[in-house]
Amino acid sequence: MRIAFISDIHANLQALEAVLAVIDAEGADRLVCLGDIVGYGADPQACVELIAERARGGAIVVKGNHDAAVANGVAGMSRHAASAITWTVEQLDGAARAFLADLPLAEAEDDRLYVHASPAEPLSWPYILETADAFAAFSATEARLTFVGHSHLPVLFHTLAGALYTGKTLSFRPDGEAEVPLAAIRRYIAVLPSVGQPRDGNPAAGWGLYDSGSETFAWRRVGYDVATAQERIRAAGLPDRLWMRLELGR
C-alpha cells in the first residue's frame, strides 16, 4: 500500500492544489492529512472544502493546533498566528467550522499512528525537533511508524526495537527530496515538511510517501505558484511576515 501524507497546509490553496495534483498523478492508495489545514494563509474555506471532499473519499484527517484554535480560541499562540486565526474564523462557514471541530486528534491504522504534533501529550502540541523530543514520543506509543507534522522541518527519527533496543534515538534530516528504507528491526517517527508554509529553506511545497511494499518513506517537494499565494495573503490584509516568508521557505 502506498500512503501519501500532507501536513500543515495553512490555507495555502495554490500549494495544496499543486501537491494534490502530483499525488493523484502518482496514484497513491490513501491520503492522510496530518492537520493544520488553516491558519496563516488566505484561503481557509477553499482548503477545508478540498480536504473535506477528500475525507468523504476515504482520506484520513487529524486535527492540528490551528484547526483546534478555530473553535477553542488563540490562547498560547504567537501574535501573527493569533491574528491569522481571528481573521480565519470570519472566513469559514458553519460546515467548515464543524468539519474542523469534529476532527480526531489521532488515528491508528495497523502498525501506524497519525498525529499532528506528538503522541506524547498531543493536546499541548509539543514539537518533535530533537532526539529528546522523539524519545518522549516513542515512549508514548506502541506504533512502529508514527507520522507527524507541526514543526514544518522534515526529519526521520528512529530507534532499534525489541531485543535490539540500545536506548539510542537517531535522526536523519533529508536534504530536499529523499527516500529512505525502513527496517523491520526499527521504529520510526517521520516528520513531514509543510505543504503551505515550508520552513526548511526550500520554498517548494512538501509532502511524503510511505510504501509498505518496498518499506520506504520518501520526502517529496513540488513547486507551486508562490506569487499568487503571496498576493492573496497581502490582499487579505494579513501580517506582511506571512507572505514574505513563503518565497524564502523560512
Partner: protein
Amino acid sequence: MADPLALHEGMDIDGYRLMDKLAVGGMGAVWRVSHPDHAETLVMKTPFLKSGADVSTIIGYETEEMVLKRLSGRHVPRFVAAGDLRARPYLVMELVEGDTLESRLGDEPMEAAEVARLGALVAEALDSLHRQGVVHLDLKPGNVILSRRGAVLIDFGLARHEKLPDLLGEESDDPMGSPATISPEQLCGDRSRPESDLFALGVILFRLATGQYPFDEPTTLAGQKRRLYRPPVPPVSLNAKVPPWLQEIVLRCLEVDPGARYASAGQLLFDLNHPEQVSLTERAERHREGGPLARLAAWWRGRDLGQRPPSRVAPSRRASSAPVIVVAVDLAHGADPLALAVREHLARVIATEDGARIACLTVLRTRLVGEDPLRDAAGRNPYVVRLIALKDWAHPLGLGEDRLSFHVVEAVDPGSAILDYVRLNRADHVVMGARGAGALRRHLGSVSSAVVAGAACTVTVVRRKEDDDAAPDARAGEGLG
C-alpha cells in the same frame, strides 16, 4: 541443545539451497547457494549470531543491504536478496569469480608497475563507487576481488551512502574499520569522506610495494590513533626499488589531512596510469623517517584533524568537483586559430572548475603501413617536437604542474585514440576543436563526431565561427577536426 540458526549443507533457507561453504571468517560464513528462480550460482553471506544478538553485526547487515541494493555497475556484486533481520540476517548476491587481492599478498615487495596496475584497478572501482554517492570505509585487500571484469569491491557493512541515514555512525561512538587500513578521520569519528577510501588504498599500495603495512595492524584504538601523529616511513626505506613517482602517490594517499590527499579516486587513477606524469614533491625525496621537527609538524596536523568538525560534503559532489578534463588539441598545423580557440574555451572551463585536473592530449598520426621516420627533415624526433608544441600551447593557461599533464599519443586513427584515452582515464569532460562542416568532411566523418558519439562523458566541441565562411575542405590533413 542444537543452535537453531546453525547451517549445514543441503539446508534450505527461504528457497536458497546451501551448496558448500566458500569461506569462514571471524564474523560469519559465505555459502555457495542455488535457487530455482536463478540460473546462476549465488553466494549467501551469514553472520554468526549468539544469544543476545550482536547489534552492530545486525546493523552491518542492514547497512549492507541498504547500500548494495542501490549500487550498480561492474565493480560491485549484484544484490539478490536479504533475510529478515529479526529472524535470520543474510545477504544473497552474485558469485564473483576471482581471487581476493589478499591472496596476492606475499612477504616480498611487488614490482612498481604491478603495484600501479593493481592500484589502478581498485582506484577505478572506488571512482565508480564514489560517483554513486557511497564511501566504502572498510577497504582492505580481503574486500577486493580481482575478477575478469576488473576489481570488485565487497563487504559494505561499514559503508556510508550520502543520501541515507548513517546507522552505524550514529549508533556507536567507537570508530569502525580495519586496523591496518582505517583512516585518521574515521578514527576521529568522521564517516563521510571519500578520501578515507583513498587513504586505505594508499595503505594497500604501501603493502604491495614494500611487503609491510605502514602502520602495522594495531588492535587497540590508541595504537590505531598513532597514525594521526606519526607519519609513515617512506616506502623507499623498506624497498630501495620503489621509484619516486610511486612513493609520491603512496605518501600523498597517506596524508593525515584528507584535503592533502588526491581530490578524487579519478585523479589517483590518473597518476597510477601515468607514472611519468606524476608531479613530484618533497614526498618523493624522503629517505627515512622524519626527524623531531617533522614529527612535531605531523603531531600538529593530527591534533588539528582531531579537533575539526566532521565534513558535510556529499561524496558524489566531491567526485564531480574534482574532475579529469581531457583537452584534445590538433597541433599538426602548429598553434593555429582553432587550437587557440580551444585553449580560450578551456580557460573558461577551468575558471568554473577549480578542482579540475587537465590532461592535454595531442595525436601524432602514424602511417598504417611502413616505418615512420624517426627524425624529421631537420633531424628532430617528431614526438619530442609535438610534446614541446603541446607544452607551449598550454603555457598561457598558467596552471601548476600538479594540475596539468601532457600526452602525445601515436595512432593511426585519432578518434579511437582519443576515445581509448578517455575511457582508460575515466575522464569527466572532453574539450576539443572541430574544423568547419564541409561536404567532404561530412562524408568522411570527423574526429570530433566520432568522439561525441563514443565518449561516455560530456564532450565540448569548439568551432570557430570564421571557419564557417572559409573553405573548410581546403584544410585536409591529419586534423583532429
